[in-house]
Amino acid sequence: MSIILGSINLTRFSVEGPLPDHYMEEFPGRIARHAFRKLREDSTEERAVGWVNIMEMLDSEFGGKEFFKDPYIAMSWRVDERKVPGKALKLHLREAELEIKRAENVQYLSKARLQEIKERVRLQLLRRTIPNSSVYDMVWHLPLGVVIFGSVSSRLCDEFAEFFFKTFDLRLHSIFPYSLAHKCLEDDGVGTDLLDDLYPLSFQTEKW
């Protein structure tokens, strides 16, 4: 809910292509299929992502189509992640290794065996790890075909664009200075190839 409350980090995307003809009927089903589902307790699932209500991150039902806020679709993208703390993993791993060495009366364990123990310990601890939840808002201006996403992390933006595509079957393109300039000239009916003649400014004294 950061777009609504507090300070905001934001990245803009343009949506490729037109909206489907019957998007009002089509989108609720698509959103429901990609709504957020919690990580199951006592499972080894590491990550869960999906849509939640922009005004309430605990609501992923959208019973009243709360995401339609004419002319926008507004939702939050929730990401829950479970990660075993490195120090805890190290400690439990040492403990498990010692136990096995003692039980089998050996001094050394093979690399493959160590790897297998590590994965087993990691999964055991994962079941006991509480997930960390983050939400990133997204506001899609339907007539303009512009999406505001509440993060500036390249990794998250890429993942979000992929998830958006999975949900709506529509590609997102990053907006950046060149694409903005291109649009500005296009709207004015000026040739966009003029942009390719521009060069970086240099203020180095010897070039004055």
């Binding site: 777009i3 609504i4 409350l5 300070s7 905001i8 980090n9 934001l10 990245t11 803009r12 922009i54 005004m55 806020k69 926008y72 507004a74 506001v139 505001i148 500036v152 393109h173 990053s174 907006i175 950046f176 200075p177 060149y178 903005l180 300039a181 500005c184 000239l185 004015d188 000026v190 003029l194 942009l195 521009l198 060069y199 970086p200 400014l201 240099s202 203020f203 180095q204 004294t205 004055w208």
Partner: protein
């Protein structure tokens, strides 16, 4: 051209825009007439991030503070450092926005809008519309300024008037 290639080749557009914006904000009292969007006041804040361009290892410097027009940052421009991020305050009437504008993607970081009037419990939708209106307002202003810059750079006025004035301003900062 694939996106990353286009992005790399045109990265200078955002960086040069921030230098121009900084120059204009200091030489015209920070006032801009944006036609339909009205008159706005835009000031560079206390932090500017610059980076060396080219094949050398990336070298970043951050200038902070409000010493006379950030002389160190202006000096850095003369040794081929480029502005990559700038803290900006925007005033329209009595309303104030602050944000960090990023040159590469034209992203907004730490955007703070004027305080919203609507209450979350009384009218959650009203809160949403008010807040998104304020966010979009800041975006529209930055886009309008950027469009002015692009048109100016493509016009003869750039070489004849604007660029010499910009260079003079940078020289004065040394």
């Amino acid at each position: 051209m694939v996106l990353l290639e286009r992005l790399r080749q045109s990265e200078f557009l955002g960086r040069d825009f921030l230098v121009w914006l900084w120059f204009k904000s200091e030489t015209n009292g920070g006032e801009f007439d944006l036609g339909e969007l009205g008159r706005i006041e835009l000031r560079f804040g206390r932090k500017i991030k610059l980076q060396a361009e080219g094949d050398r290892a990336t070298e970043t410097i951050t200038c902070a503070g409000h010493a006379p027009h950030m002389k160190e940052a202006r000096f850095a421009l003369t040794v081929d450092k480029k502005v990559t991020e700038a803290e900006i305050t925007l005033t329209i009437g009595k309303d104030l926005w602050s944000f960090v504008l990023d040159a590469k993607w034209m992203n907004f970081k730490s955007l703070k809008t004027p305080k919203v009037v609507q209450d979350k419990n009384d009218d959650p939708d009203g809160l949403f519309y008010e807040k998104i209106f304020l966010v979009e307002k800041a975006i529209s202003v930055v886009d309008a300024l950027y469009f002015s810059y692009v048109k100016l750079r493509l016009s003869p006025q750039w070489g004849n008037e604007e660029r010499p004035q910009l260079i003079r301003w940078i020289r004065e900062g040394r």
